[in-house]
Amino acid sequence: MELVRYLLDLAGIGQDRLQVRWVSATEGQQFADYVTELTELLRQMGPLDRDKLGLQLAAVTRAINSPDLRWLLGMERQLTERGNVYHEKLDRAVYEDVVKAAAQEEYNRGLIYEALKAGPSTVRQIAAATGLPIYTISLRLNDLEKTSLVSIMGHEGHSPKFGVLAA
């Protein structure tokens, strides 16, 4: 849950757009209060950028579904409470930093990958589509190339165009 909210923040959607409250079927008033609260919040936050929303959500979904991130999340209690394979307990802050860094990278990779589904693009074109910094895109593209998800498919001048490889 924390992670999804973090990813929504990364995506620029905003973590507050996702809320979880436990409400019993008998607590009608409470449910109504929560909905009002959320509606008010959303009004304050203003409209979403609809053009980019599809891409952003797809990237969040890719990140959530990535095996690395899921494995890291699954290991939370093992690593921070019961102790890791070296019989050390990971400091929660350290663990969270690792997860956040992984989430950030997975999200960026997801964003690039989703953007490339529209067709092969140069780094600068990817930057225009995703809003990511140029150098960040170059670094994450390298990760995607290593896992055989993305490859160079042609050139535009002296700029290589990257495209999604068939699975």
Binding site: P67, D68, L69, W71, L72, M75, Q78, L79, N84, V85, Y86, E88, L90, Y95, V98, A102, E105, V123, R124, I134, Y135, I137, S138, L139, L141, N142, D143, K146, I152, H155, H158, S159, P160, F162
Partner: protein, 1008 residues
């Protein structure tokens, strides 16, 4: 004396597993010493494994180093100890106690098969130091795919201990409870080969390295060029992956710089040229502009000058003699503006897409600390290991030797030379303990398979999931069992593991197998190991064959498992058909004559003879004149205080009085024959003809200084060569005191079209002379007219000193050489165009010294006798410019000294010792084994057409007129297979690769 000798330990510790450490380990182990090769990283291979290509031959670095890696890995007497460092060293030369600290790797080297599944599943990432941070790797990692040992390691700094790798490792190699261990070793000698670290350009902020990803260090660019690098060898800039069309190299980053390192790093000019040339080759589709900004172009090695010329004239690399003023990256475009002052003093600005900083070589603080701990002195100004020029691989602490870039900044061949020299130096110390620490393997006698029905065992490997993940191995094994002749078909998770080896051994014995096939990976890495196993069971090792169903099948047909299975069936069918045709081969053993013939009695010949003799072998030193010493007699003075004469006299005494050295004066070699270990030569001596038996030959035929035919040499009494000036200085000739102006002209006869090489030592020689002149006569005006000042390494400090003393340096180009004239009274004038002032300067020297070229002594006669190749300038050609710098192409022949290339005395001594070190690897053996996979001539079929004689690249086949047939000496045949394929009468058979064997394999392969 005897008692002390008994105490010596016949083992050596080598610190550092780069090319120098590997070479010294191989030479020591092959000379009969146990070697412990220790490296701090999880693998050996050093920097060479990270380079793309190597100068001046453009050989692929990994391709030439990986056979060395395999050789080291497979050597029974070399123990590789990774993740470890030397903690303490007590005792004395000949008998040290070394305590090693081994850090945990967390993966069992014995169990890990290098399959890489752990890396694929690891969820955390770290900076990939192998690619200098250009990309990232997992926490479970291996430095490079060909690494030795081929085992992964866990980077504890980033590992979070999630336990996933243990879950996926099929080989059960993960050891989370691994811990730091101490180990004590008894060794007789220590060789330090810890290498260099690259200067960190962040230390000079004006280069803006930290500010732009498109400003990279030279090693980063090397990785960008490499096919195994972050961009698979495509030249792209890190910032936006665009292909750069203009790249600049900035030289001397962290070299020749008072604030960081005052010395010259010796290699950066050549590597920058190489990178520019190779980058252009990589970018064939467009015209990549390459510009090198430099102060002096230092291409002083063998064939380097020609490389430089070709780069400029053929590849179109731009060379800009300049001082770089500022580097200014544009964060938007990623481009970099360079402001520089060109030679004529004008300031210019150019824009580049990418900038490479040619970073220097230095000794890391860790290594400096290690040296302090070991009591090994460092040269204070350079922080490289201190050594005397007369004992270049000997450190200040007896019993500890040094080689490679820790001795001083240097290139690969020089490192390899010193590595062999260090092995010789250790061999001299430990000669009496040779062979005492070696492992002797007892092998059962071979059983005779003659006339037996073939009984083949086939072992199919899953290679973890590398093969098994694609090919249905159980199905494959079932099929293999049905093949004709197959008695056993078995499958294993990892066929190369120790327990599977035991299983193969048991199967051979139980089922009386007389042929074995392993279907797994590459014979390149695994064939010798399986052959050893087969031999341990009493089977001839040539009754073995491999089918490579991984590299040639599962890896390349990953997405077509059905077809891959069919291909695997075919590959194994072929291997089985071939293995039943194979016949046992036996090598012949000949005793080795433990003597070296050394030709040439200069410093190189004397040093080589002395080293051979000190190692306990006989040396015959052949000198064509009546006196030893050669060119060294001319060295009479040194600004560095080197006592050349004292050294020479001392060396003469040692050589003349050594019981293992026989000197043959006024003698020449007339004929030679035989093969390595068993040469026999005849000599013309004053006492008549004399025959000599020897195991190896060392060529040290020397060189000489050119007597110039220009600049009024020989026409004016005040024009001298450098060596003649040395005599004046040594004699404190009054002419020096009386003179008011002295001029030196460099490159006289060198770097000219007719002699396109740099004579390497003349710049240093003139700078030293200039310092001495200034010291003898401080009022003297001294000018050195030069083209590029090549005071490489710590010799740069002399150049600095000369400038501080007020010596003036004026540069000229080949097309504007100085003009030397004399007046009617014999007064000299030298006119030179000063490029900085842009006008002619007229000098009126009382002393004019010509730094003339070094030429090799003519060796047409013995060159012919020994069939040694020479380059266009007459220098002897080594077997391989990079990795075999003291071997001649024919086995058992070595070279040293000026015969190879111009070089100063310390490098000559290193090479001479290296030749002795290489010689010892053969002389230490009691027998030399010949035969095996060689070509054999059937005299019945031979028509004496000479095809084999002409095609053999090694010149081995000869015509035996008593049999009217060609004869191929099994001792010399390299088994390359050229002559059997060319022989029109099919009279030549290649053993182990006969026509019938290959045809059987092909037919079976095609039968599917």
């Amino acid at each position: 004396m005897t008692q002390q000798n008994e105490k010596k330990v016949g083992a050596a510790l080598v610190l550092g597993g780069g090319i120098a450490g590997m070479q010294t380990s191989l030479d020591l182990a092959n000379a009969g010493f146990k070697v412990y090769l220790v490296d701090r990283s999880p693998t050996i291979g050093g920097v060479m494994s990270q380079l793309d290509k190597t100068f001046p031959t453009n050989d692929c670095s990994m391709c030439i180093v990986s056979p060395k890696l395999v050789e080291v890995a497979r050597h029974i007497d070399i123990e590789i100890i990774t993740n470890s460092e030397l903690d303490s060293l007590t005792g004395e030369a000949g008998n040290f106690k070394a305590v090693l600290k081994s850090y945990p790797r967390y993966i069992d080297i014995e169990k890990c098969t290098g399959c890489g599944v752990c890396r694929q599943s690891c969820p955390v990432r770290a900076v990939n130091e192998f690619n200098y941070g250009l990309d990232r790797r997992a926490a479970t990692y291996i430095r490079y795919p060909q690494a030795v040992p081929l085992a992964y390691a866990i980077d504890r700094d980033v590992c979070i201990g999630c336990g996933l790798c243990e879950k996926v490792c099929l080989a059960k190699a993960i050891r989370y409870d691994d811990e730091t261990k101490e180990r004590e070793l008894a060794v007789g000698a220590v060789v330090l080969a810890p290498g260099f670290s690259l200067f960190d350009p962040r230390r000079i902020p004006v280069y803006e390295y930290a500010e732009s990803p498109n400003i990279v260090s030279s090693m980063e660019f090397e990785r960008i060029l490499s096919a195994t690098g972050p961009f698979q060898g495509h030249v792209m800039r890190p910032f936006d992956r665009d292909e750069p069309t203009r790249i600049a190299w900035l030289q001397c980053v962290g070299s020749r710089d008072e604030k960081t390192n005052p010395y010259c790093s010796s290699v950066c000019c050549m590597y920058a040229i190489k990178q520019a040339v190779i980058a252009k080759e990589h970018c064939k589709e467009y015209d990549l502009e390459t510009s090198i900004f430099f102060m002096d172009m230092r291409t002083h090695g063998k064939d380097f000058e020609k490389y430089y010329w070709r780069a400029e004239q053929e590849s179109g690399v731009r060379f800009i003699r300049s001082r770089v003023h500022s580097v200014d990256p544009d964060p938007e475009t990623g481009n970099v503006h360079i402001r520089y002052m060109s030679e004529d003093g004008t300031i210019q600005t150019e824009e580049f897409h990418m900038v490479v900083l040619s970073c220097g070589l230095e000794v890391s603080t860790e290594i400096q600390e290690l040296a302090a701990k070991l009591g090994v002195d460092l040269a204070p100004e350079t922080r490289f290991a201190w050594s005397s020029p007369f004992a270049p691989v000997t450190t200040s602490r007896p019993g500890i030797f040094v080689c490679g870039a820790f001795q001083g900044p240097k290139d690969i061949p020089q490192s390899v030379m010193e590595a062999s020299a260090a092995a010789a130096a250790a061999g001299e110390l430990l000669g009496t303990a040779r062979g005492t620490e070696l492992q002797v393997k007892e092998l059962p006698p071979e059983w005779d398979v003659e006339g037996q029905e073939p009984r083949v065992g086939v072992f199919v490997c899953n290679c973890g999931i590398n093969i098994g993940g694609v090919i249905n191995v159980p199905k494959l094994t079932e099929y293999v069992a049905t093949l004709p002749g197959v008695v056993v078909a078995d499958q294993n998770l990892f066929t190369c593991s120790t327990d599977t080896q035991g299983k193969i051994l048991d199967f051979i014995k139980e089922k009386n197998l007389n042929r074995v096939v392993v279907a797994s990976c590459s014979p390149r890495t695994h064939m010798p190991m399986f052959q050893e196993t087969v031999r341990e069971a009493g089977l001839n090792p040539y009754l073995f064959e491999m089918a490579n169903i991984r590299d040639q099948d599962s890896w390349v047909h990953m997405h077509e498992p059905e077809k891959a299975l069919e291909k695997a069936k075919g590959l194994i069918r072929g291997a089985v058909a071939r293995v039943v045709q194979l016949e046992p081969l036996h090598k012949q053993a000949f005793p080795v004559t433990k003597a070296a013939l050394v030709i040439g009695g200069g410093i190189a010949g004397m040093e080589a003879s002395l080293s051979v003799a000190d190692m306990g072998f006989q040396a015959y030193l052949v000198e064509k004149g009546d006196k030893l010493g050669g060119q060294a007699w001319n060295l009479v003075t040194s600004a560095r205080g080197y006592n050349y004469r004292g050294f020479l006299e001392d060396l003469l005494k040692k050589v003349e009085n050594h019981p293992n050295i026989e000197i043959l004066y006024n003698s020449t070699v007339k004929d030679t024959g035989g093969f390595i270990g068993n040469f026999s030569s005849s000599l013309q001596t004053p006492e008549g003809e004399r025959g000599l038996e020897h195991g190896v030959t060392i060529m040290a035929t020397g060189g000489y200084g050119l007597k110039p035919d220009e600049y009024l040499y020989g026409q004016n009494p005040n024009v001298y060569t450098s060596l003649e000036l040395d005599q004046l200085i040594a004699g404190q000739d009054p002419q020096i005191k009386e003179a008011t102006e002295a001029v030196f002209i460099q490159c006289v006869g060198s770097r000219e079209p007719q002699r396109p090489y740099c004579s390497r030592l003349c710049c240093t020689h003139s700078v030293e002379n200039a310092i001495e002149l200034k010291e003898l006569n401080p009022g003297l005006d001294v000018f050195i007219l030069y083209r590029d000042l090549r005071t490489y390494g710590d010799k740069e400090l002399l150049y600095r000193k000369a400038r501080e003393l007020g010596v003036m340096f004026i540069r000229f180009d080949l097309d504007s050489k100085p003009r030397v004239e004399q007046t009617a009274e014999g007064k000299l004038t030298v006119t030179i165009h000063d490029p900085i002032l842009d006008r002619d300067v007229v000098l009126k020297p009382d002393l004019l010294t010509l730094a003339s070229a070094i030429l090799p002594n003519p060796v047409e006669d013995i060159g012919e006798i020994f069939k040694v190749p020479r380059n266009a300038e007459g220098f002897l050609n080594e077997a391989h410019a990079k990795l075999r710098p003291v071997d001649l192409p024919s086995d058992g022949l070595f070279l040293a000294g000026l015969a190879h290339y111009p070089k100063p005395i310390d490098e000559t001594i290193a090479q001479a010792k290296a030749a002795a070190g290489r010689a010892a690897t053969f002389l230490a053996k009691n027998v030399v084994e010949v035969g095996g996979i060689v070509a054999v001539v059937d005299p019945e079929k031979c028509a004496v057409c000479l095809t084999c004689v002409r095609t053999c690249p090694f010149g081995v086949p000869v015509i035996d007129y008593t049999a009217d047939s060609a004869y191929i000496d099994p001792a010399k045949c390299q088994g390359c297979g050229v002559c059997p394929s060319e022989c029109p009468a099919k009279a030549i058979t290649m053993k182990n690769f006969t026509d019938s064997q290959i045809i059987a394999q092909e037919e079976a392969l095609a039968a599917g």
